[in-house]
């Protein structure tokens, strides 16, 4: 009896030691991809991670735009127990680096040649003072304009290539009783339309000076007044019920012919495809009038964690995220395009092809720009200040010159 007990006890001890000795890759991943298509896309990464012997602990925190997730992250970092990888994007990565919270994954980046397969501006976001600290997942394009193909065909309108053409088409549609622009009156949607208009009217250099460098002279310039003038015109082209509407309800308006156009990022394509609409036949996609490409790159930032298993988990996760398979499958499910330029796009639809081609051209021409409305160009305080002015102007009868002055003042205040 006693020997049986001794045998069982020693077996248990040995097994537990065996578990400790192995140090399998472990990752606790904080993200807010909790809705249908997004959750499926994260599941792809989870499966790949598990098939390479890793243990994934999911930490999903629902809540639009990641506010709740960022609060959870702040609590974890302050208590000294940061998650292994966190869904962060844009300057937030560098902000967390400045608080001393990120780790260095340059070894994985160099081994897998990331510098050769990522466009330069995107690679720049993933580096903290020259060292790689985050892995990019996808590239969303913001400056898309979507249209109902039959409404356009019935009224003899082509996809506009300049804002004047858009205004002319919109006037024609208003006369027929069709809402020209489907819009949801939430601050981020107002900001999305604003930056597409700013890029179209001012051009890539204007956009960079105004929204990346925050140059006061550019912010107060006549071009900015023209941008606000066009926003005032667009305000006349939306229906009276637009206040507080969600973006996908505006997409539905385009789908059923109530409205002709919507200015929204490429996640709108997911809505069209989920409703069974076909690109080029039922709905049309094109870049908003003007040259340039506004990107929104989702990425996972690697936080400073202790323990070999967690650090091994980070390295494995980083390698898988920029791997060919994940880049292809994830982006097919989510509607964006891979951040890697060498992924074959045969299975992607026509809009994705257009997006990838435009990304390559704008990368070569220097007009591949970060979106300010989606947190890629500026930190929260500054982008919030700009959005406050944009949405106040759109929802009131503020004059363009008042708006421009308020813009310059708010940005100076927020720095």
């Amino acid at each position: 009896m006693k020997s049986k007990f001794l045998f069982a006890a020693s077996a248990a001890l040995t097994l537990s030691f065996a578990g400790i000795a192995k140090a399998e890759p472990q990752a606790e991943v904080l993200h807010w991809w909790t809705s249908g298509g997004e959750a499926k896309s994260v599941a792809v990464l989870q499966q790949e991670f598990a098939s390479r012997g890793g243990t994934w602990t999911d930490m999903p925190v629902a809540g639009g735009g990641g506010d709740a997730a960022m609060t959870a992250l702040r609590a974890r970092v302050l208590s000294g127990n940061a998650p292994t990888a966190v869904q962060l994007k844009g300057p937030a990565i560098q902000e967390w680096y400045e608080e001393g919270a990120l780790s260095d994954i340059s070894s994985v980046a160099e081994k897998n040649g990331w510098a050769d397969v990522l466009p330069a501006s995107i690679a720049g976001h993933m580096k903290c003072e020259g060292k790689w600290c985050a892995a990019p997942v996808n590239v969303h394009r913001i400056d898309w304009i979507w249209a109902n193909a039959s409404v356009l065909a019935d009224n003899g309108i082509a996809m506009p290539t300049s804002w004047d053409e858009f205004n002319a088409a919109a006037d024609k549609l208003m006369a027929k009783g069709i809402t020209p622009l489907a819009h949801g009156g939430q601050a981020w949607q107002d900001a999305t339309v604003f930056e597409a208009v700013a890029l179209g009217i001012g051009g890539p250099e204007f956009f960079h000076k105004a929204f990346v460098e925050l140059d006061q002279a550019t912010l107060k310039s006549d071009t900015m007044v023209k941008v606000f003038d066009q926003m005032r015109k667009l305000r006349g082209y939306v229906d009276s019920n637009f206040s507080g509407r969600d973006w996908n309800l505006a997409t539905a308006m385009v789908m059923n012919g109530e409205a002709a156009f919507q200015i929204m990022g490429d996640w709108a394509k997911g809505e069209f495809l989920a409703a069974g609409k076909r690109p080029g036949i039922d709905f049309l996609c094109a870049s908003t009038p003007g040259e340039g490409f506004l990107y929104n790159v989702d990425s996972f930032a690697m936080f400073d964690v202790k323990g070999d298993d967690k650090q091994a988990g980070q390295m494995l996760l980083a390698e898988l995220i920029v791997g060919q398979n994940f880049q292809k499958v994830f982006n097919m499910n989510k509607g964006s395009i891979p951040a890697r330029v060498d992924v074959a796009l045969d299975d992607f639809d026509t809009c994705a092809h257009i997006s990838a081609q435009d990304m390559a051209t704008s990368n070569a021409g220097g007009s591949l720009l970060p979106s300010y409305a989606h947190g890629m160009a500026l930190r929260g305080a500054q982008s919030g200040a700009i959005t406050d002015v944009v949405t106040a102007h759109f929802n009131s009868d503020m004059s363009s010159s008042e708006a421009v002055n308020m813009l310059a003042k708010s940005i100076a205040n927020s720095l």
Binding site: V77, S240, T391, S396
Partner: protein, 290 residues
């Protein structure tokens, strides 16, 4: 030894909760005050930088709107809720048959969460879906009630929704007060031939002064803390026209990573509350010494 214990027992029993209150309420108020004097952004920092956060705060157009909204909303909410609650209580006090049922109906809105109130009123006040569309459907095609989407009028919709929520509660307070008035005084006044409305204004209402004060304190603190109602009803309003200090503080802290601003706006909110509560406390303490 044991008698010392017995003598100080109340203090010993209260000591833990007292300590917790001191640390978690006053200690953290002190922490917020410290952070409001720093340049904290994403995470709190502790090196002092003077009053720049307060300068930035009062320079911001959005904070201006928020404070104005607080005054407009606070004033209208408190005055209208008190008046409405008083009138409903007086009417209910007339010994009517179905008083229990009616009283419950008026008190029901208080049981709803503010998010439900905000969402329901958002649908009712939506021009295309709610009141305006219904009345137009009845035939009055020129009727318009688009306050919800009008940046100048949207704050009044917040007043409507919160008055609906709180006046039942104020009514209950006043009803209790009315019931506790000595009926002999009323009968004596009636024998003297004083008209009913005069009885109310000169005898009953003045004797409920302490209830007016309680209602005021409760409504004032509800008004200053208004957050969920605004978020559910207007989400900050067309643009930021219905922003209130509480929503400003939340946005700065959690959406913009600007803890210094959030802390300074919280301190300003606290000072506004102190400006109301401290005179009240002072008058109460002085009354005790009389």
């Amino acid at each position: 030894m044991i008698t010392w214990f017995e003598k100080h027992m109340p203090k010993i029993v209260l000591a833990p909760s007292f300590l917790i209150a001191v640390i978690f309420v006053y200690g953290f108020i002190g922490w917020t005050a410290w952070v409001s004097l720093t340049r904290s952004r994403l995470l709190p920092r502790y090196d002092l930088h003077g009053f720049i956060q307060y300068e930035r705060l009062f320079d911001s157009a959005r904070w201006d709107t928020a404070l104005n909204n607080l005054y407009i909303f606070g004033f209208l909410f408190i005055v209208i809720s008190t008046l409405l609650g008083l009138i409903l209580a007086i009417l209910l006090d007339q010994k009517i048959r179905t008083e229990g049922v009616i009283r419950t109906i008026y008190l029901y809105p208080m049981a709803l969460s503010l998010i439900v109130t905000g969402t329901a009123w958002k649908w009712i006040l939506n021009p295309g879906l709610g009141l305006e569309a219904t009345v137009r459907g009845f035939g009055w095609t020129d009727f318009s009630f688009d306050w919800l989407v009008n940046p100048d009028k949207a704050i009044y919709t917040v007043v409507i929704a919160s008055v609906w929520q709180a006046s039942g509660f104020v009514m209950a307070l006043f009803l209790a007060g009315l019931r506790s008035i000595d009926q002999e005084v009323i009968k004596a006044a009636q024998i003297d031939g004083i008209p009913t409305w005069r009885i109310y204004t000169s005898i009953i209402i003045p004797s409920m002064a302490s209830i007016f004060l309680s209602a005021f304190i409760v409504l004032a603190h509800l008004a200053i803390k208004s957050f969920d109602l605004v978020i559910a009803l207007t989400g900050g309003g067309p643009g930021f026209a219905t922003d209130l200090p509480a929503t400003y503080m939340y946005t700065m802290a959690f959406s913009r990573g600007d803890l210094g601003q959030a802390a300074s706006s919280a301190m300003v909110m606290m000072m506004i509350i102190f400006a109301i509560v401290v005179p009240y406390l002072y008058s109460e303490l002085r009354a005790k010494h009389d």
